[in-house]
Symmetry: C2
Subunit: 359 residues, 2 copies
């Protein structure tokens, strides 16, 4: 039951993928430990330079000989609108002052052409370093990119938040589709509809998707233990992808303060916001999210807003002040535990086996 | 596995409750057929008069000797603000004109004291007619009401949308808690937080709730088949409550046009709106919801807005025009089928058994 086409394609023992959380959380230790424990570790490389990516791949290969994955953001065209930036900066400046940030004028505003170039360089590194699995968020790469990766026998996974998006992922030739339920923490992977129109709970999203696609479906969102794994399998998924559950493990690179915030949060304390990056994402509601709520509609788009808030997020983090950090979390923080990766995976599999026997 | 404390309390064969959909959907045939097929049929009596309730109970008893349930709305205090009513009427008048409605001036505006009186009369009928099970939405009735119902050995079920609400339901002395996931169609049962802050997907809501309460937990939202039943059981639920799945059966009293709209809808076509009743509810997006979106924040509260839109909804329905009807649906309309109650329940149980064997 836990071995199927998905585990076969990925050559892993258990159908458990560690979600590719961007921003320093997916340390080489985390990725390698997950793969060593029989799951699939993933580098959240969306914001990484090609050089950083190569370094981390080399490091992970020294820590595991099992398959692992890398996740890239598909660049979406965006426009740099100075008026939007100016009005966002007006709102953000008092927060920068409060945190004592002085170098906001050195902030680099991203340009679409540069992002596209970086994406192609990232792909090149993935191919050169023979990463076994590559997943994508925020859309589907061009047919050329997909063809090139497949020529190098790299297994491809796409992210979908609706049945229609899952069908597009399959049509593009990807091997596996990850369906992201409304429960999921972090960025919404939506690319056909607005993120707020594609908030489908996994109880609805999994069965409706598996009825429409032939590739393996992996469920993501709020899954933390053997119960979530078995429920996903009952609904027709081949496996699960978990973010928050791995974020609080010892091997994760998340700041201690972020781990603590999750460990003490309740299921009704996460909200969707685009105030951090310009794209909708789910995190624990804090002072920053509350204060920015009235400006949500007029903020610059991704990744411009992300660049504008970078200093605020990192100053808040280094001052151990959760008020202005992006505390991404799914809707199941009550199930988060402070534990090692190996313990988490072992417990999940034991729970799943026990459940199977008692059903 | 499908027999547990919940089926024992309710004295039913299968852990399947037909959701108490208000507004004429839960005909006596539907309720009785569900109970005859081994589930628990439920009267959606929220908007019914005590006389109507008594008539339907008597009718159902002639059609089944199995237990069935009745659902009541717990009255929440509300205020009748003439300014709000006037500005809502200004927006609604063009729609009334479009539908050729002429008697809007005879509209009766509800008063809280009357609603409370009606609620107590409803309770009296439930006791006199010895309805075996009574469930509540929109809150928890007073300790007196609960005590009285329990003295008459009526099994009580409360509705919760967060862990905290489920804890309150248990504390109040109810026997079973129904957790309503964000996937659910129709009205949100939230009573502690605003409805929009308590949109928790079932993958998150079920396990976090069962970890915190001792009474049986029933899952509601997007569940349509044996897969959803087994997934809910894996997550720790004792059973399921299904609305949309029963709404499209032959025995349901929903207008044919509403059934058709659901049968052709996709998972990303439902939205939350308070434009029909003043309380947030999930339905298929239509012309009315779209046009009212900009006024959501300023509309009168429940049940005032409900009274204001009654004529519009019924005219739209009798004109077979889905544009202004409340097309309540959960997030799994792709799984809805035109079938009899008996076929739906038999298929679910067969699927669940098959799944158990193949896991």
């Amino acid at each position: 039951m836990l071995n199927n086409k998905m585990t076969e394609l990925l050559q892993i023992q258990y159908p458990i993928i560690q979600a590719p959380m961007a921003g320093g959380i997916t340390t080489s230790e985390l990725v390698a430990e997950v793969s060593n424990a029989g799951g699939l570790g993933s580098i959240g490389a969306g914001y990484m330079t090609p050089v950083q990516i190569r370094e981390q791949i080399i490091e992970i290969k020294q820590l595991t000989s099992n398959p692992f994955s890398i996740n890239l953001f598909v660049p979406n065209e965006f426009f740099v609108i100075q008026d939007e930036i100016d009005s966002a900066n007006q709102v953000l400046q008092p927060l920068r002052d409060e945190l004592g940030i002085r170098d906001e004028d050195r902030m680099e505003i991203p340009q679409f052409e540069d992002e596209l170039d970086t994406f192609h360089e990232q792909i090149k590194v993935v191919i050169e370093e023979k990463v076994p699995v590559c997943s994508f968020t925020f859309g589907i790469p061009s047919a050329e990119v997909i063809r090139e990766l497949k020529q190098h026998n790299i297994i491809l996974m796409g992210t979908a938040t609706t049945v229609e998006e899952a069908i597009e992922v399959e049509k593009a030739g990807m091997d596996i589709v990850i369906v992201q339920g409304s429960e999921a923490g972090g960025h919404r992977g939506s690319f056909l509809l607005h993120a707020q129109e594609s908030l489908i709970g996994l109880m609805s999203l999994i069965p409706q998707t598996v009825d429409q696609v032939n590739i393996p479906v992996v469920a993501a969102g709020g899954i933390m233990d053997g119960r979530g794994l078995m429920a996903s399998v009952c609904l027709g998924a081949s496996g699960v992808q978990m973010g928050t559950a791995f974020l609080t493990t010892s091997e994760s690179g998340a700041p201690a303060i972020q781990k603590e915030e999750i460990l003490y949060a309740h299921e009704d304390q996460t909200v969707l916001t685009r105030a951090f990056s310009g794209k909708w994402a789910r995190g624990i509601k804090n002072k920053y999210i509350s204060e920015m709520q009235q400006h949500e509609a007029t903020l610059p788009e991704f990744p411009v807003q992300n660049a504008l808030t970078k200093g605020i997020r990192s100053a808040s983090s280094s001052q151990k002040n959760p008020d202005f950090m992006s505390l991404w979390s799914g809707q199941s923080p009550r199930l988060a535990e402070k534990q090692t990766v190996s313990k988490l995976i072992k417990k999940m599999i034991a729970e799943a086996k026990h459940l199977k026997e008692t059903l």
